[in-house]
Symmetry: C2
Subunit: 291 residues, 2 copies
């Protein structure tokens, strides 16, 4: 009898990554596929997942024939409830030995704490927190750029555009930062309006380095904008502690950068991630296998 294998999937909104591991947790192969947010459609998500799976199998020198004895643990963006998890399992295009799925934040948290209880706070273009206590996961924040994702590069960039217009109109401080933002977006309000029209969170996020640079140079407004995003992250960290997280990992492109603007006690509750989101997926797969 073949010993079972385990696939860990980290399926996000831009790409999907797969890791194939054996029962001892050793990596046999990895692969990458397209976006696997289930809001794009289950067929789109599964196509991306299988693209990443096939690449991982190829790297391991294996074919799809092993999948019937392989457990798969899927962390997928866009999953919101148990009904979504059932739809994911029910629409698999091949037969696995077992399937478990959860949000990509859940598997990221699982991987970061190697299956133990803990919390993660991800801050990049967007932001979101996740906690697992007694095995039960809960998402905090991360409900999108428009009304959530506080403590993120996109929020910082949007605040900078707002401040630039207020400075231009004489209703707020007009500093080196606001002048730099106005210049970057075309120099006058109509140009800014034209830039804002099609702008996505990623576009606002491109302004975050400009704000950070000016904050480091002592621009008083830039300092305020950076500190506000750092404060938002501290708010998330307080909440994770309140909910019982024994340790918290601060992740993403912006999170660790903002640590310089957080109070000293924060460093004391942070730990380095023990593994990535694919490792969390592998742990979920092992749970599907009865581990």
């Amino acid at each position: 009898m073949t010993s079972p294998l385990f696939l860990g999937i980290d399926g996000g909104g831009t790409r999907c990554r797969a890791r194939l591991a054996d029962a001892g947790g050793r990596t046999l192969g990895e692969g990458v596929g397209g976006a696997a947010n289930i809001r794009l459609g289950l067929d789109v998500a599964w196509n991306a997942i299988m693209e990443a799976v096939d690449a991982a199998l190829a790297q391991a020198g294996l074919g799809r024939e092993v999948l019937s004895t392989t457990y798969i643990g899927l962390g997928l963006a866009g999953i919101t409830n148990e009904a979504d998890q059932k739809r994911v399992a029910g629409s698999a295009p091949v037969t696995f030995a077992g399937i478990l799925s959860d949000t990509d934040a859940y598997t990221a948290c699982l991987g970061a704490h190697a299956g133990a209880d803990g919390g993660i706070l991800i801050s990049g273009t967007g932001s979101a927190a996740q906690i697992i206590v007694n095995g039960v996961g809960r998402g905090i924040g991360g409900w999108g750029f428009e009304v959530s994702d506080l403590g993120s590069g996109a929020s910082m960039g949007r605040d900078a555009v707002r401040a630039a217009l207020l400075g231009h109109d004489g209703m707020g401080p007009h500093t080196d930062l606001t002048r730099a933002v106005m210049a970057a977006l075309g120099g006058d309000p109509p140009s800014v309006v034209a830039w804002v029209g099609p702008a996505r969170p990623g576009d606002y996020g491109t302004l975050a380095p400009l704000v950070l640079d000016h904050a480091r140079k002592g621009d008083v407004l830039a300092e305020r904008l950076v500190r506000e995003q750092a404060d938002h992250l501290v708010m998330h960290i307080r909440r994770l502690l309140e909910l019982g997280a024994p340790a918290i990992c601060l992740m993403g492109g912006l999170g660790p950068v903002l640590l310089d603007w957080m109070p000293p006690w924060v460093r004391g509750v942070l730990t380095a991630p023990k593994g990535d989101a694919m490792a969390g997926g592998v742990l979920l797969a092992m749970r599907a296998g009865g581990a």
Copy 2:
């Protein structure tokens, strides 16, 4: 020789209104047409304008033959500079005796102060301020929902959604208001995310009455959200005074409602509008006629 006539146009993003007046300023007829924001295209804008003009002419018992001796003053949404004004004049589908155009905020300000210097502050779904001093106009704020329009129903509604999610996540006060907002948008974060996806400023604005109701009942969070928007409007009023506005009209569906949340001195600088935006258009038309 026929005595000249004057057409005042108020062309906004949802509809266009026209008023035909004689040299004494008496209204001869009015009409309505479609959206005349020039960002929709000059042909679309002019179609809407001519629809409103034809209706005004019909009400006056006149035909298009009078237009060659009629001056037209256009207040159009989407005009940002002199190049836009030239493009509007250059694309008129019929011959007028003369054409002048400016933003719809400019003609609203002109009408509100009957051609005298002054400022206006419009707060409804969006917000924008306009000042005319020594005949020269300047727009303040109103650069759009995403990064401007502070002190508006849409901003208030968006803040309420943000507060509702923070309350739900345990990162902010969870009051009668936040519970009412969560309930109105489906009860849980995934439903809120689904609501936010296609939401336009007008959708956020529909939540403003809920916030105002709760503020009047003493909900501490609702009070804060309402006061913040009122403070934003006061910031605009201070700026209009600083720029030399001898009097200010507070207009729109929300502006006068928020007066209750502003400091008492504000009432002392406000005046009732003397005329509407079409009246401002007629004044612009008279200027085109050398008045």
